[in-house]
Amino acid sequence: MEEGEKDESEGGVWSWGAGTDGQLGTTILEDEHFPKLLHQPLLSSVSSLACGGAHVIALTSAGKVLSWGRGNSGQLGHGEVVSNALYPKALTSLDDSFITHVAAGWSHSAFVSGLDFSAVSLSAVFLKRISVESDYTGCVFTCGDGSFGQLGHGDYASHSSPVKVSCFIDQHVAKVACGMRHSLVLLKGHCSGADCPGNQVYGFGSGKRGQLGVNIDRVKSVNVPRLVSGFEGEEIVEIAANGDHSAAVSVDGHVYTWGRGFKGFDDAHTPQCLNSTLNFTKIALGWNHALTMSGEGEVYMLGGNHPGVLGDPQNTKSEKHLPFSMHSGDQKRQPKCRTNRLREFVKKDSNMTALEFEDFREANLEKVPGLDGMKITDIASGAEHSFLFSEHGEIKTWGWGEHGQLGLGNTSDQISPVTVSLGYDLNEAASIRVFCGSGFTFALGSGSELPVAVYRMESQESSTYFGIHDALCWKAMCSAPKAPPKFDNYEGM
């Protein structure tokens, strides 16, 4: 920053890939094959992004939401159905809420509110009651296409403005994830240990491929949130959804997947624990593959190269493609998590026993090649393309490149990771996060200092000023008791 040059080398928003719905925010309806730095003043305070089929939801450090791209199902949340929006536009209908988390599906969007300003501004006393212990976060709002029940409002209606999901009004929602036609909601865990009910994840929307994990075979769709079964004793800390896949990561580093089966595997109607001794911290889903990252910064892939998109047919047709063993030495190690759910998991037309199958599934988990011990700090996945970010600031990509979504300046596919340049020399302290939509990609850079929003809260007694980094700081500022605020007089938007 002292260089006097330009601090764009640290902060900034870049986009590339499919752009014919305005999803790149470049204000033109064209694909970009190289990362393009966006010059939109509104984007300067963006702290996180969610990229969907062809739209983007941006979250600012002040808890505000912007959206752009395709809006033909109301997924932009601006209260109108538009074919597309070329410029980032604020979602004014959420102005009363401090939004802490956003998600974008194929044609729907979801927002987690941390706090409702219209409710708390009633009194400072009330504000003080917000509990640190209860980890209060507010509700979930959804908008966009609801024709599969993916908005969770008990019907199949679509909405062009965010509507509060009534099921979660008195709950402590942590995160939300949106797939092609379904949604997952993660509640804040309050329990641990063997007697934990484990009821933290809910699913709604299309469930035909098992992606809701509600333990009912062939449930076509549900339009009210249903409990995902199978996490008994596990504290889930991350959820992910894309295509017809769902996934979760537990605090103990276990990865669960359910929904459409990865290459060569049957659909799973309940969460399946990935049998591995590795300690996973994150999972990113595509439409036919998954990336999962270990605490040691290694990245593994499920599903591999998808036939019809990647790799040469001879390779991808072979079931033995890239068998990968994670054992060091020959001895078999004990799986970290229960394997008694495997019976549901029998491969088509095969007489494999559950144990053999388990081995097979593990073999299907391949280590991403060509990283040479590079420590990876973040992963992201589009429908058919993937990104990694290393501890030294390197961005790696591979997958389907027909729309330039790899950012390599061409439309070629890549079968193993190659380096992408944003066209700027990044400061060591700068961090880049990559967010993938179906056929496009965004990179968000932030310098060593995160922007701090100063918030002014009006109350009857006094005005209070807050500096807010994120919801954690927010919680740290709020004091004592246990009961979360109730929104009895607040009936949604």
């Binding site: 092609m180 389907w400 729309h403």
Partner: protein, 81 residues
């Protein structure tokens, strides 16, 4: 190679496009018209990229559908070329 096999019941009828559609990973939609289906066509293409899917359906359902529509002709004309 076909990107995916998709059952017709998982596709959505799009009035504007007058076609059955399914999401394409590029962000656009795979599309196939009723006329194509009546002719036994099983490939739905995406206008924005090189990918296509194989549509799983029963051709009789569409031939019968067109008979029915011919009978209640007038009020709700189906897109027939």
């Amino acid at each position: 190679m076909s990107y995916d096999d998709v059952e017709i019941e998982d596709m959505e009828w799009n009035e504007e496009l007058q076609a059955y559609t399914y999401p394409c990973p590029c962000g656009d939609l795979f599309q196939i018209t009723k006329e194509d289906l009546k002719l036994g066509e099983e490939i739905a293409r995406c206008p924005s990229c090189s990918l296509y899917i194989t549509v799983i359906y029963n051709i009789e359902d569409f031939l019968a559908d067109s008979d029915k529509n011919r009978q209640n002709k007038g009020l709700q004309p189906v897109a027939v070329a």
